[in-house]
């Protein structure tokens, strides 16, 4: 039945990757110079791959839609990056990182991929430090670590609250070095609008120069999609405004299977929506849950200010429900618990869709430690609080400032109001062990692929995965394909396949511009987001999903009849860019609902209300659903399911418990 071959190497889990590396066919340096690789995306995955492949001697072209490769959304990652270095001597190991990631993913990821990820994690830190990435350090001059949810060791490396920025600037500097040397050709402000297949093999792309509007054809012996996640299908998310699914979706429509589209990560601590004008949501790092306690009033619709509500009238619901992990339960669990309280009517703030994240308890605790440290006798409550505030400021100052800037409230005085928001997509293009999609020659790296995180991603592991894919995996795995390509001459972009592909893109652009309807692109995007959030968000059920599929179908029809896209095709036209992206989001939204409807279980970020325990915990079904869903596109609104069975040979599958 299945057309899927994950190409996982034979042998012991621990030796698969090493053996693979020493037996993969190589391409000699002279041949590399005539092999061309196209990379779509310049985030961690794309920049790292581009620099590494150019260093090896391949001819590389990189595309991104921002004005500079340095602005890819990886730049916004705050908290940190995991690596099994065991610098803290706290018992970490490659196996432990592997185990935590599989368990955190609710046993829905591939063992061999995750083990490889854990194996190369240490090299990533070495590479970044060598580039000059200024990670946080201890006074002794060595690297510092912090801890993140779902683990019991300290393995997260960080650069204040700007880890993604520093890692990306490191990868970007390596990329710019190759650009300077002429080994990489960079195409900023370019958007890939389709892939070009010749005889069933991916041979290039069609891209639009976003400044002039001109369509361009580019040939490559291989094409790497490193185009990021699709969280913006929900309209509101922590993703950047331009983050989109277009590259992956166009590839999907040309034969690349889409893996686990319904696995979405809703992050528990984000600044809540403040009004209809809202264009995006802002994350408050997971690290805050180390020192913040989450609560709602015990009384419904309590109008008092949080500081006036006495201790015994507060419900610290995470500590109540999950005494073992308390405020540090994994993201999916924390998010659902917040939703449960708000749906039951205990939410706070003007919208009633928020809970408190309160630092006073720990501010006082730190204050007391400071008082002891400084031998202050008979300190009053105000002094203790003041000293404690200083400690919290040192740890989270930039996040507190950001919160204040956005909400106008001072979190040192008032608890933060937070609510879950869409943050990350575990789903993406299905890839084999080599990171190749089901279209030969077409690869997917970073958040754009489905691999490694199963049904729920642990904090600080996306940066790790993006860089692992780019620096350490693809330079090897692409060899097994390109070593057979050395005789393939560059295909002329006058080839019919390129002409046809370009015409198709041109037609769809013209169609968007000539509908000349009455409603803006954003109007449709917002409506799609609402359907997705209400019916395919934190909790899903059969009835809602079926309704959502119908609503999305009619939204699609309406979009293609009534959208108004201003301007022309041959100019800088951000509305046109948005329109194309929203058109693709609408189609993806339908597939996400179809996938969620098919998966009759709850696991990780996918919670089906019908499948829960009496206490409201997720109920996984390992007998019937221990597989990856890989969807094949069969024409508009028509998708065929292929299953990749997940075999656990090294880890014993068990129910997750955080009680």
């Amino acid at each position: 039945m299945s057309k899927l071959d994950a190409k996982i190497p034979e042998g012991q889990l621990e030796t698969k990757w090493t053996k693979f590396k020493s037996s993969v066919p190589l391409v000699n340096p002279a041949n590399k110079r005539s092999l061309e690789i196209i990379i779509v995306g310049s985030g961690l995955a794309g920049s790292a791959a581009a620099a590494s492949l150019a260093e090896l001697g391949y001819k590389v072209k990189v595309f991104c839609f921002q004005d500079s490769p340095r602005r890819a959304h990886s730049i916004a990652a705050q908290g940190g990056i995991n690596a099994a270095k065991n610098y803290q001597n706290d018992g970490d190991s490659v196996y432990r990182l592997f185990y935590d990631t599989i368990k955190g993913g609710d046993y829905r990821a591939r063992e061999a991929n995750v083990h490889r990820l854990a194996e190369v994690s240490g090299n990533i830190i070495d590479q970044c430090v060598a580039q000059g990435v200024p990670f946080a350090r201890e006074y002794g001059g060595l690297l510092s670590n912090r801890s993140f949810g779902g683990t019991q060791v300290q393995r997260t490396f960080y650069a204040a609250g700007q880890t993604g920025q520093q890692l990306l600037l490191g990868a970007y500097s390596s990329l710019e070095r190759q650009i300077g040397m002429g080994a990489v050709q960079m195409f900023s402000r370019h958007e890939m609008l389709d892939i070009v297949n010749v005889d069933g093999v991916c041979r290039g792309i069609i891209a639009r120069d976003l400044v002039t509007g001109k369509l361009e054809r580019h040939f490559g012996h291989a094409v790497l999609l490193c185009s990021g996640g699709y969280g913006n299908v929900f309209y509101l998310s922590t993703n950047a405004m331009g983050s989109n699914v277009t590259a992956a979706w166009k590839a999907h429509k040309q034969g690349a299977f889409f893996g686990n589209p319904c696995y979405t990560q809703i992050h528990p601590t984000c600044i809540p929506v403040s009004g209809d004008h809202q264009s995006k949501l802002t994350l408050m790092s997971e690290s805050l849950r180390n020192d913040g306690r989450i609560w709602v009033p015990k009384q419904k619709d309590d109008q008092r200010k949080p500081i006036d509500i006495p201790e015994e009238e507060r419900d610290y619901y995470l500590e109540r429900r999950y005494p073992a992990f308390g405020n540090l339960v994994p993201r999916d669990v924390a998010s659902r618990a917040a939703k449960e309280r708000c749906d039951a009517g205990y939410g706070v703030g003007s919208s009633k869709m928020a809970v408190y994240l309160d630092f006073t308890f720990n501010m006082d605790r730190y204050g007391k430690i400071e008082v002891t440290k400084h031998n202050i006798h008979n300190a009053d409550a105000a002094t203790i609080r003041k000293l404690g505030k200083e400690v919290v400021k040192e740890k989270y100052g930039n996040l507190f400032d950001m919160y204040k800037q956005i909400t106008g409230e001072d979190p040192y005085e008032m608890p933060m109001r937070i609510y879950p928001a869409v943050h990350y997509t575990m789903g993406g293009l299905w890839v084999d062990y080599n990171l190749m999609t089901t279209v030969p020659g077409l690869y997917a790296l970073g958040e754009a692929n489905f691999s490694d995180h199963g049904a729920n991603r642990l904090g600080a592991s996306a940066l790790m995965q993006g860089l692992a894919d780019g620096y350490f995996v693809i330079p090897y795995t692409i060899g097994s394909y390109l070593s057979n390509e050395i005789r393939t001459k560059a295909i002329s972009t006058d080839h019919e396949a390129f002409v046809v592909a370009e015409n198709k893109v041109k037609e769809s652009i013209n169609k968007l511009l000539t509908i000349n309807g009455t409603k803006s692109v954003d109007h449709f995007h917002k409506r799609l987001g609402k359907i997705m959030w209400d019916k395919c968000g934190m909790a899903r059920n059969e009835k809602g999903l079926k309704e959502a599929i119908e609503e999305i179908k009619s939204l699609r029809t309406e979009f293609w009849k009534d959208v108004r896209v201003t301007g022309t095709a041959d100019e800088f036209n951000p509305e046109l860019e948005k329109a194309g992206r929203v058109a693709d989001f609408i189609e993806l939204g339908e597939l996400m609902c179809v996938d969620a409807l098919t998966r009759n279980e709850s696991c990780g970020g996918h919670f089906r209300e019908e499948y829960q325990t009496e206490e409201g915990e997720a109920l996984r079904d390992d007998v019937n659903f221990a597989f990856v869903s890989a969807w094949e596109y069969k024409g508009e609104g028509n998708f065929e399911l292929h299953k990749e069975e997940l075999k656990y040979e090294n880890i014993k599958i068990a129910a997750r418990s955080y009680k």
């Binding site: 790292a48 620099a51 590494s52 260093e55 921002q66 004005d67 500079s68 490769p69 340095r70 602005r71 730049i75 916004a76 610098y87 090299n123 070495d126 590479q127 060598a130 580039q131 000059g132 200024p134 946080a136 350090r137 201890e138 002794g140 001059g141 690297l143 650069a159 520093q166 970007y172 500097s173 390596s174 710019e176 070095r177 650009i179 300077g180 900023s188 400044v211 950047a240 405004m241 331009g242 403040s274 009004g275 004008h277 809202q278 264009s279 995006k280 950001m402 800037q405 909400t407 106008g408 620096y471 350490f472 803006s520 954003d522 108004r564 201003t566 100019e571 800088f572 951000p574 509305e575």
Partner: protein, 254 residues
């Protein structure tokens, strides 16, 4: 949730690099103080689209002050009236009902206008490509903790590395100098042991590229530091000048 502020905007409209631009007046009503400055522009654009007019083009992406894409010159100041804040993190509560707000693109010869408020900043990328890196190929690195770095140096390098490449420093400078941007990268790498082997060639090549791009010279007025949303310090410029002189003399000592 609509609000109660009514504002007049004077916005720079320019069709493309080749045409001339002009300030055009717009009214926006019922603006909420909780909106960000860019969300206020979203409201205006939505209105323009419904009226069948061309919406205003402006650069933005992350909308959380880190990607460096947003770039509006607001009432004569890059990123507007607040210090240490990018355009996307500026909120309407910083304005009053009835205000008139003038919004223009970055102005610099090296940053040509693409359309309306969007400019071309690729000169910055070319400066980095000229030397803003450590020449280390993937796979060549030693174990990270084999290279202890004092916390003070690491922190100072981090402070310089926090630059988001927005170009506000150039827009703030009467000579459109890029010294603050360039010196931030030079400083980051020269404060770290990894940056030492290429210390001299780096500063010479990056400065040469900066000049070739048509950025003006630095006259130490400090407008760049005052407008930089990430608090990049003028001391970086001093450090770069020392390095440059040292490198030109071909000496390690300065």
């Amino acid at each position: 949730m609509s609000g109660n502020m009514n504002l007049t905007l004077k916005v720079w409209r320019q069709k493309n690099t080749k045409t001339n631009g002009e300030l055009v007046d717009y009214k926006v009503n019922e603006i909420s103080p909780d909106m960000s400055f860019l969300e206020m522009f979203d409201v205006l654009n939505e209105k323009l689209i419904t009226e069948g007019k061309d919406p205003i083009a402006f650069d933005h992406d992350c909308r959380e002050g880190i990607c460096g894409m947003c770039s509006m010159h607001i009432n004569g100041r890059p990123h507007g009236p607040l210090q240490g804040v990018t355009t996307c993190q500026l909120h309407m509560r910083s304005f009053k009902d009835g205000d008139t707000i003038v919004v223009e693109p970055w102005r610099a010869q090296a940053f040509p206008v693409i359309k309306d408020l969007a400019v071309n900043r690729s000169a910055f990328d070319r400066i980095i490509a000229a030397g803003g890196y450590v020449s280390i190929n993937t796979g060549n690195a030693q174990d990270a903790n084999n290279l202890p770095i004092s916390k003070d140096n690491a922190d100072e390098a981090f402070a310089a590395a926090a630059c988001i490449g927005c170009g506000a420093c150039v827009a703030a400078c009467k000579n459109a100098s890029a010294m603050l941007f360039v010196s931030a990268k030079v400083s980051q790498l020269s404060l770290l042991p990894q940056g030492q082997p290429e210390k001299q060639s780096r500063v010479i090549n990056m400065v040469a590229q900066m000049d070739a791009e048509g950025f003006g010279s630095c006259t130490n007025t400090g407008a760049c530091e005052a407008e930089c949303p990430k608090g990049i310090s003028l001391s970086n410029i001093a450090r770069m000048n020392r390095e440059f002189i040292g490198a030109e003399l071909g000496s390690e000592k300065y």
